[in-house]
Symmetry: C2
Subunit: 142 residues, 2 copies
Amino acid sequence: MNYYKEALAQAKKSLSEGGIPIGAVLVQEGEIIGKGHNQRVQQDNPILHGEMDCMQNAGRQQSYAGATMYTTLSPCMMCTGTILQFKIKKVVIGENVNFEGNIPFLQSQGVEVELLNDEETINMMATFIKENPTLWNEDIAE
Amino acid sequence: MNYYKEALAQAKKSLSEGGIPIGAVLVQEGEIIGKGHNQRVQQDNPILHGEMDCMQNAGRQQSYAGATMYTTLSPCMMCTGTILQFKIKKVVIGENVNFEGNIPFLQSQGVEVELLNDEETINMMATFIKENPTLWNEDIAE
């Protein structure tokens, strides 16, 4: 299964709902245990970035150690801290062109990072930011 | 107003609900704009630590810059990342005896930290951890 496509599908789902197009899935032992997308618009919720909604939907687990997070955008500090707190082993990132995120910090803390810089994801995010600058700045606290 | 007492009241509320006794309030320009407590048990939710529930309840704001977070326990990496992401200026921490948290990292990123090591908070948390070791370890992902 192409797990990254599932994360991208979550981003597109959010876009179709009028929301910010960032999605994530969490995979443990080859199984998707959580999916989610940004919920700022849909649930009027400032903490539910794609990765956070994904973790919330994965629910309470004995351990997330060894899991891989697939996310369409390089993680902000909230999501980076969350990845570290839950001991997620690897993060596959769709792109860091539209938002730099915290890849070196994740790596410095022992998290394996794979950066795709997927063209479809880059274009989708660039278009969204261009069309919704105020909402985007709110989401990244700028 | 003693804002810390409000955070402690949130922790006690959580305890009275059968939950983990960690609470937080967010104060901006002298006004409490959010309150919350750990919701792992009550909402079966792994991401709603006290600080996260507090941020969620504060809701969407133009900016949280300049705000002060009062929390009963030294913040884990998820909550630390969230404090940094939302540019919270200062964190008043009830105690770091039962959980070390990430005070030096917060300080290294420019966040002002005030550590109270409040005896009532320390005792409440110590008793909870002693009586609920499995739940506590789940909450801190140990």
